[in-house]
Amino acid sequence: MAEYMTSDGNEAAAHVAYRVNEVIAIYPITPSSPMGELADQWAAEERKNIWGSVPLVVEMQSEGGAAGAVHGSLQRGALTTTFTASQGLLLMIPNMFKIAGELNAAVIHVAARTIATHALSIFCDHSDIMAARSTGFAILSSSSVQEAHDFALISQLASLKTRVPFLHFFDGFRTSHEISKFELISDDQIKTLIDNKLVIAHRERALSPDNPFIRGTSQNPDIFFQARESVNPFYNYCPEIVENVMVQFGKLTKREYHLFEYFGSPDAERVIILMGSSQQTAEETVQYLNGKGEKVGCIKARLYRPFSVSHFLKVIPSTVRKIAVLDRTKEPGSIGEPLYLDVVSAINQAYAANRVDLGSMPFITGGRYGLSSKEFTPPMVKAVFDELSKDKPQNNFTIGINDDVSGKSLQYDTGIVMEPTDQISAVFYGYGSDGTVSANKNTLKIIGTETDYFVQGYFVYDSMKAGSVTVSHLRFSHKPIKSSYRIFHSVFVACHQFSFVERIPVLETALQGATFLLNCPYSTDTVWNKLPKTVQKTIIEKKLRVFVIDAYSIAKELGLGNRINTIMQICFLGLSEIMSISVAKEKVKEYIRKSYGRHGDSIVNKNIAAVDQALKHLNELPYPEEITGSIDMRKVVPNDAPEFVKACTSRMIAGQGDELPVSAFDPDGRFPSGTTRYMKRNITGEMPVWDPDVCIQCGRCSLACPHAVVRAKMFHTARLAGAPQSFKSVPLKRRGYDGYSYSIAISPDDCTGCRLCVVVCPAKNKTDPKLKALNMQPQPPIRERENENWRFFISLPESDRTGLNFNRIQDVQFLEPLFEFSGACAGCGETPYVTLLSRLFGERAIIANATGCSSIYGGNEPATPWAANRQGRGPAWSNSLFEDNAEFGFGFRIAVDKEFNYAKELLQKLAPGIGEELVNSLIEAPRKTEKDISDQRNRIDILRSKLNKIDNPAAKDLFSLCDVFVKKSIWLLGGDGWAYDIGFGGLDHVMALGKDVNILVLDTEVYSNTGGQMSKATPLGAVAKFAARGKRTPKKDLVMMAMTYGSVYVARIALGADGNQALKAFNEAEAFDGSSLIVAYCPCIGQGYNLSNGMEQQKRAVQSGYWPLLRYNPDLRKEGKNPLQLDSSPPSIPLEHYIYNETRYKMLQRSLPGEAAQLLKRASDEVKMRYGWYKYWAAMKMEDGV
């Protein structure tokens, strides 16, 4: 009997790949990471493959490493696979050429993703697949979750038969993360289809000293060409073999596939050809258009390489006159994209060989669509067919965008509704933290499993890690669902956060008479007039049925905190009537026990209580026939925002980025700085309020704040004229500053409510000790007042940097942060260091940022937190890739050095006209302190005015370069994934070269951005993905490794443990004339605890000896001193007092207590040993050769 599963494309593919392989070597990259994670989980659960053995799963240091390991494993005869995407696939290319060149049977599963060009994108297109098309891998394309499952097997079978390795791909996110119901292939079916003789033959080709041969020789012009051509028969036979495998598969499973498939009118005149999930949308549209009498059709390309001309020609109707080939990639400079060129070539070859019966050659055009998961919808498909109706259809067109620069885009009508009317479509708006997505995933599983409905779920997340808006698109139908695009017309809309109604058009998809479920803190008597006018209007015009519930109150009462998922899930099931509510409740309870049972019965009980209570609090909202409200939708950006922000950023923030034309963007990928200040997301329910009478003006709060929301200023008291009445200030406690005031302000609309500032505040209210100088209060009642205070605060002048001591927190608090309001998690442990860097050196910094959390919160549109000061100076920031960050930033260094040298040469050449004194001071003046820098800027101004009067090319050249005389602060910034693993080779080389670069490693001890995979920074005994039973090897000591150079400045810091030591490290690193490495301890959500305790955890990490603070300064040798200074005391608390506050350790203690105890012992010994080494080294005398 058929067994079904409701899950996503990643799981569907991995489910097969795991069972038909022996070795799995991976490296995580979105959106393919879950495949490797699932493989690792199943291996940890000791699930077996079809040969009754548990595959060996290993995480490598990069995709290049994974490909190397795959290649090696294949050469040794193991059935081996890997999972990847995008840049990851590109890093595998050299090995892919080898793997194919040696005729190794293998499958690489790819969740296709855009390759980074002018920007990075985690979303889907086929640029990665196309970049790999010349490797010799066969390429098989899946267009749905069911196909991802089926083709995972078909590709494996075909590869074993043909010895051609396969790239099996499906669309990233659209298929990889889409939840759908699919039929499982059983173990028995796999065993029936897999010919074990081929497995043995594969093994027999392995490298073995018992049967020695060599492979991978170096060949010369005399033989290479011939040897290369010897593979031709394998590729010639490959398509037919794949077709046969598909037929065999179809006989067993009743699911039939072919290399190319045609769908549509048998006498079609216009046909489109595509690959991937868009095929489903094309099929749906063709069905609709056929129903209207249009003679159109679509060809689904499945086997892209080897491209079989004969199989392709077989499916083209003889009536075809015009063909549009749609590519989901862009190849600038080419006369057409890859699939288009292949189709043109195929038809041309066919005509040349007289092999077709098509009459005259059809007109073939090519177009691009869907780059970076741009939606591809039925109206767009229709627009392509309409274009083909023209006498001269456009070639090289685009569809889905408005290209007002090259005029290539086709127009399409968004008003046509072509979605099947028998589908139930529901859209849900929630916050990341409220459980909306997991509730919807559960709903899909329940309905998919317990009913005969087909289900589809697609989830959209915004780019913020705090207060992220999630939109769930759910479809239910009694027929297979082909709509591979977001929902534009829905019968059910749920809004799980009331604040959304004033800033997001949540009802835009609602059809006439749809149901609207609203979570709100108001009763049915009062909520209507809390809705904006436009929302009231929509409700009235569309005659929506509105239901309201105060889910947060119920959740609080039941002890569920802010997790309203179960409550809202029951409301949807009750209102949608897709299944009987009593059955639904039972099934939800079953799933609760299954999902949460492991977390304890108290958790299960609370959620079950929520199931029973929810509907009792759900009420239908009666509403009038006219608009009675007075609230407008919130302005997206203020009126005084810069032009680009008003024209573009605001549209992106409002979710209307799709409507922006090509001309809105700079062609080289640049974006203006400092745009997050316009977002004003207003995501916190609570914010800190300053009590100036208690404050000791220490500055710790502003340093601890991850989002630069808490700021301090000192200013002349006269500046208070015009301050709002509620604005607070006190006399400044600083010698020599009589007549000055001190103020702290907090931005209510930018605060994430993380509480770090309150926790670090050392000052207690003497009459009420539970209060401090900062105390959390509900934000809504004070929001307006505090916004007004904030605006006034921002208008106050910044302090003169030259008068501040950069080694004291009390002074550094007054430095303007040039990194603000990022999308980092609430309580992020990385961003306080980044903000600090921006305060200290931001106005002359050039930053190379590795891909990771810091590049996402630092550069993910619609806005960037990197800002400029009032003089217009600020960090110049760029992200290149993941693995190359050190080299990329090094490139900044050598370019600046060259510029400086050249500018010096020009200066000297022009000295007679400029003046020797100015020339000498520009070249020789010290460039260390803020005063030095300020003086140098003044000299540059003088130089510029002199150069303006000199009319020759050298003067013009020098004019364009003279800013280089201000010392640039070059920073290589990134996480441990970059520094310890994939980028280590480059980092090591850059350190060895000894040029003046500063490296800041934000060490969260795990791959935070991609969901917590182990890195070499992960500590012994900590649980992470790919270390489910606790990491068994110690953390790599990057600090010690760098110190062994002897010529690199190295520091290990923890802001929460010793802020002043951290400051010293930053300043010494900047001053050091050579490579400097700072490794910073960063609490992270992946460590599994409330990040408001992050600073305390940093202290414990240091107190336990796990994270000894130190600075290694080679310059101290010149003074006859030991370069190593150990800045923290010997361990004073046992390691377990630090680690067992974190779930990443605690969970192992709870699941495998014996192993946890052993690992704790080893980890404790390791801490003692390592601290001992540092202590010994730090105590050495110069004469001992330190």
């Binding site: 940890a44 995933k441 977390h599 969901g1011 917590g1012 649980v1023 489910a1028 959500i1085 974190e1142």
Partner: protein, 331 residues
């Protein structure tokens, strides 16, 4: 040879010295040592229901926080293990203790919800505990909850729990009850087999430098015994329930005083923490020697000899004694 055997909770014990609930009892090795040193029974450290709930909540929060929030990181930690919380470890400890020693193992439970009390009581029973000590540790801070309500709740709870388990239950109470005899009598009627006097509430201290309330653990002294023997003496023989003393038992004389007042057993922890588990041997030796010197053949014959009813001046245990004490201070 003096017969030190008693029976407590219907369980025969070789002597009246029991190790009371403390962190010493978390270690099986310690429990084995206790048996070797002739301690008659062990009350394990308390299982706190709120600890279990807190652990579950922490794990759930730690595993779920940040999930389904950001497209690249839908989860952060691999969550597919089977997790054990304080209760699982506790039950495992009971099983291991029962395997390791022959002396009775008494579980100790401190719940906050009726459901929680019943659930864990049954689990402790099913794990093999010989008896259960219910640790009634509720500190009333709300003026709108009357003493009657608090005490009624205690009684209801005892009734609910004892009706669901087979093993005998001892109720450990605090001194802060309006009428100890009344409440203890109701416990007896509700199915309790023993009552243990008295719980020691650890009083926090104040740190004036940091303006913080700080935990402060002070071990008991023999001075604290007097409160307990007074009430044991008052309660002795008035109702059908075993009496036990905990707190203030440090020496052989303390054990004897406790038995004399009417307790079946005396429980010791602070003395073991200060002097080590082998101290038990010296205490029991001292008890035997005293009984022999004073011509008692068994501890049972000494039990209750100084209970309220037995002394010439019962008022010594009542209010009049207060006046006498004050008067003696002046002289």
């Amino acid at each position: 040879m003096i017969d030190l055997s008693v029976d407590y909770l219907g369980i025969p014990l070789k002597n009246p010295l029991v190790a009371s609930s403390s962190p010493l009892c978390t270690s099986i090795d310690n429990i084995k040592k206790m048996e070797d040193e002739q301690i008659a029974a062990v009350v394990l450290q308390s299982l706190f229901e709120e600890q279990v709930i807190l652990e579950q909540r922490e794990l759930d929060t730690g595993l779920l926080q940040g999930t389904e929030h950001f497209a690249e990181a839908l989860t952060y930690l691999p969550d597919f293990g089977t997790y054990r919380f304080a209760s699982s470890g506790y039950l495992e400890q009971i099983r291991k203790a029962k395997e390791a020693v022959d002396i009775p193992i008494i579980g100790s439970l401190n719940g906050i919800s009726t459901g929680g009390w019943i659930k864990y009581a049954k689990e402790i029973q099913d794990a093999g505990a010989d008896a259960l000590e219910l640790n009634l540790y509720y500190l009333p801070t709300r003026p709108d909850i009357s003493s009657q309500q608090v005490e009624n709740n205690y009684v209801e709870l005892v009734k609910e729990v004892t009706s669901r388990i087979r093993i005998p239950a001892a109720i450990k109470i605090s001194f802060f009850l309006s009428s100890i005899p009344d409440t203890v009598s109701k416990f007896a009627d509700s199915g309790a087999s023993a009552v243990v006097l008295f719980n020691r509430f650890y009083q926090p201290d104040l740190n004036l430098d940091s303006l913080n309330v700080v935990p402060n653990l002070k071990l008991s002294t023999s001075d604290e015994l007097r409160l307990r023997i007074r009430w044991i003496a008052i309660l002795y023989n008035k109702m059908n329930i075993d009496l036990a003393i905990t707190g203030g038992v440090h020496t052989s004389l303390d054990v004897l005083k406790g038995i004399a007042s009417g307790a079946k057993v005396t429980m010791m922890t602070s003395a073991f923490l200060l002097n080590g588990i082998p101290y038990a041997g010296a205490v029991l030796e001292g008890v035997s020697q005293w009984l022999e010197r004073n011509d008692y053949k068994s501890i049972r014959s000494f039990q209750g000899v100084l209970n309220q009813a037995s002394v010439e001046n019962p008022e010594a245990y009542e209010r009049a004694n207060y006046m006498q004490v004050l008067g003696s201070y002046n002289t």
